[in-house]
Amino acid sequence: MFKIFKPSPTSYQVKLAGSDTEFSVQRGESLLSSALSAGVQWPFKCKVGSCGTCKCQLLEGKIKPQLDFSYVLDGPEIQQGYILACQTMLKSDLLVSLDLDK
């Protein structure tokens, strides 16, 4: 009932599908920066949401996009749940799919 007064968690957990990789994301940090801080070899180039290198597929959870993904991702990708990790803040724990070999 008084959910509005409930403090939001200071961090969320992210799990990469198909692997044992798991890391936490502090509130205010992007998915990409937290992954890199945790030592995950997440592909990236520009870090400002313009190149699309850091894209991954959101399988479970809620996010807060920081920029409009549609400039970089096409319609089918967005429908399939692709997101840009560098422009993603978290609203819950996440399960994402990432091709670490690319």
Binding site: S33, C46, V48, S50, Y71, V72
Partner: protein, 372 residues
Amino acid sequence: MKFYVNARYLIVPTMSIIAILGILIGGAYAWVGVALFGLNTVIDTLTKDIHLPADFDDQGESYGTKAFQYGVMYFMLPVFIALQIALAYRIFQFTAATPLQVDLFYGIAYQSGISGINLIGAVLSSGLWAGLGIIYGHELSHNKKEGFLVSRLIMALSGASHFTYAHVYNHHLDLGHEDDPATAPRGRNIYAHAWLSHMGQSLFSYNLEEGRLNKQGKSTLNVDNRWILGYLYSLPSLVLFVWAGGLIGVAALFVVWVIANFLLEALNFMGHYGLIRTQGAVEHRHSWDNDSVFTSWFFIEIGRQCDHHVRGETYFWELDDVEGPNYGIGYFSLFVITLIPALFRRYVEKHLVNWDKNYATEDELAVAAKFS
């Protein structure tokens, strides 16, 4: 230390307000904004050899306070609106032929009415400080949601709202490549660059929106078109100046926009002139740093281009010297040099030779050879 790190970035807000007060007080004070620009050039030149690193505590945390710095950046939007209103007020008085006389406002003397020569001072002051204020539009273009909108609105005051999208989706992606209109190739002068870069970025923004809307099955001529919307954001300024002075008002606003956009493109020109990137990720070597102390504080570290382009998500107060290509002087000093193309070509030659020798890859050297 926390106070020092945060307060040192208040030069532009303070001087912008002084420039506004100068226009409002009137008389020769209308030129205060121009005088401050000159004073800054002197200070920047005298302190060109002082370079300071970013300040972090023992845990590696920055002393910069995000809430405060964002508060200041957001506060600059009403400041720049006030700058335009102050100028419009003076244009209104000029076109209405308000008699020149000294009046009092709560005990403070100001000149009611304005002469033609002092109106020129007010217009130049407004253009210079609107242009310098673009540093906030740039910083906020990298910072999400409401910050992005504030960036668009600040840029719209200078008729340059297209910049926000072009900067993120074009300049940061295509830096150093011929696809980036904001990177000046070797041999181009600042005047040609100002025009080509401005128009190139606007065209990119238009094409970007066209592509996005077409993917959604929408027409380009649509209120969802953010290129069109950006120019619509500039309409209130145009309406204000038409109301204030008709054709004289429009001419004044045009001069303000030309100066502001020229300064914006001068920053792009100085930040990447002659540098080349053929493939791969943007690296430190694809930008010039201008990080003398006054430039760093005044331009909220925008001169740390090498670090900014590699860590575009990083707040300005955390940007540091990464030992990339460095002009070794500040923006004000370099800007004066760029205004004289022959002088700039002579000045920049040794820096380009150094870049070719110590930073460029073989592919980049092959491209450089085409310009020699």
